[in-house]
Symmetry: C2
Amino acid sequence: MDSIGIGLAGFGTVGSGVYKNLEANRALLAQRLGAEFEIRRIAVRGLAKPRSVPAPAGLFTTDLGELLTDPEIRVVVELIGGIDAALPFVRDAIRAGKIVITGNKALLAEHGAELFQLARERRTPIFYEAAVAGGIPIIKTVREAFIANRFESIHGILNGTSNYILTRMTDAGLDFADALAEAQSLGYAEADPTLDVNGWDAAHKAIILASLAYGFWVRSEDVYVAGIDRLTRDDVKFAAQLGYVVKLLSTIKADASSAIEVRVCPTLIPKSHVLASVHGVFNAVWLRGDVVGEALFYGRGAGQDPTASSVIADLAETVVALKSPRRCYGFTSHDLYGKLKPSEDAVSQFYLRLLVDDTPGVLAQIAGILGDAGIGISSVIQPESHEPGPLPLVLMIHDATFGRMRAAAAEIAALGCVKAEPTLLPVENFT
Amino acid sequence: MDSIGIGLAGFGTVGSGVYKNLEANRALLAQRLGAEFEIRRIAVRGLAKPRSVPAPAGLFTTDLGELLTDPEIRVVVELIGGIDAALPFVRDAIRAGKIVITGNKALLAEHGAELFQLARERRTPIFYEAAVAGGIPIIKTVREAFIANRFESIHGILNGTSNYILTRMTDAGLDFADALAEAQSLGYAEADPTLDVNGWDAAHKAIILASLAYGFWVRSEDVYVAGIDRLTRDDVKFAAQLGYVVKLLSTIKADASSAIEVRVCPTLIPKSHVLASVHGVFNAVWLRGDVVGEALFYGRGAGQDPTASSVIADLAETVVALKSPRRCYGFTSHDLYGKLKPSEDAVSQFYLRLLVDDTPGVLAQIAGILGDAGIGISSVIQPESHEPGPLPLVLMIHDATFGRMRAAAAEIAALGCVKAEPTLLPVENFT
């Protein structure tokens, strides 16, 4: 039986999960694959750290370079995270002819164009199932299972921490801060939750998905990203009154002229849509292909074991990849699409929440600004308030571009009767 | 660019869909794959039949054998359906060294063991994504994406016709016959809907899924199969009162001793479970793996385009498969599992609906039989009836084996106070 030597870079949550599960299901994997994996070296930052998963001391090294000089190591698995150490390591690994498996979404979102170009030149593949949506095999699905399709749209709930917080804000009426604290106490959010709640963790995944689906590399600076950290429980409550739930939604869409929009932000979606039923830390991806129609993929988006499941699936790919040229090296550029729509030009319906003086003429002023901008209002609700002072006012807005809508919202914000920064969220009805 | 010659057997709904979509997305596919497909021959039963999808007349033949003698045809796509013609054709194709792609669930469920053995001997793969759940890539997922996993359970809604009928019985209170007639008028059920409504279409798919997941071939005669054709709208209504919906559920489960149970029958599932939200003609598969945890895959289970999407994905696989030995030939036997649990030994909760005389002592007699059999009752409802004569009586039953429960139900049916054949359905709480 073939034995494939592996170098494992990183032995944190996911790295030790890969080791543990390769051991636990070793016989089954060997039977299914006709090949065995041998972890020959594990690179870590410090040797003294106690390990929750035991592994022979002789495997460990603090020198990443040792994974590249061992000719028996054919595959390196990069699970160190971040960019500073991972980028030069992955570059060197490709140059050394190693197959690279990585779960590093930030690395690929920021440096994928360079790394995949290098991989093509060196004819050595990069696999990255674990980088997007944990245990959900969405990379394989977009790359292989739906290869016959032009993707009309891809909508994802790609950050479990945000989804947990939003679920609790919705179901228990918690404030953002309280829901975040609860998520942290349960281990669903890290001590520094910045990348989770500011939308960038999800955005990195959306950039990778969009680039794979549309065959050109989407630059992170061109993507509109907003997190859930400024959302209030009032927004969640008003959305519910209107028949919606708020999700941190990654939206990837092609328009009729094949321009692609990519954005990640809190978005109102109808309660009846299947994505509205994705609760807690689960992730999901809702796709529309021109051939396959609609499909949904749902599962655990993070965690030691689900992510390890995806890394091991990538390891299984190397058995074939080592024997024969790949049809691609992890990302195929094609020229059917190729341009990103400026985020200001994307069209959406909107939810606009204002805090306004309780005086006559306020709605007329606001409606006047929207009317002058050619923006239609589909409904207005003035939620009940039992407190004195300014009142919330919620407007649902017909299709408008983000650019025009933002300009109008800024103009409204400058009115004397508007007492706080407006909250502007897109509404996605999946039509 | 490589060009791969294809022989297409069958030009009905799916066959013409494959042809149409290969043409429509030809340039995109070529860019993604670095290879092109050339359909060199299309075998049909009669040349005179009008075609909804146009193709050059010179491609057509009525001789299946022509697909096997052309050395430029490397891949044959079997979409003729049924077993009589398909079985000898697929056998001959494998012997001729052709890669086989098939969407024929009955063929694989009944003759998969023989065909995959032959494929292994001849070292030529069989691909069959289109045979199970139409456009949902569940075969690829079980075979590749979740290769690291022992499958704890796989639950599927695998027949869109049945699911449409059940959805209408639930949402509109229709009788089975009326819902079936509606499905037929909408093209969701065939003129002869037997295999759809008697459970065997779903059972063929469950057999293929179970065999792939557990590495031994499940024989159709060992699988308990019941359809929705004896279900009444009262059952659907009583289930709803109890917090359940009725689905034609394919249940595949491994127990602690690695024995596998496979059954397909109308089953009560909690309204809150995600599978309860799979409406109309959609299919879904809910999996539990020991590494990945829970995952759901949802999409269109039939239809020209979704099924063609899966056939074309299999065609894409042949690009690599033609260049290098496969790690398997479409099905990998392994010895981790290997035995099917007799269906009588499977344990479940149950729903038992009786029609009984409205006289004192009836419940005591029924409870006595269950008690003597060691079967516990979790709840009893006597739904209101405004008609004279016998009354419905619904019992929810704690865990019991199918064998013991069926014996008790037969004893109950023989009571003088029981006026009709009992309806016995398993209840799946996914715990």
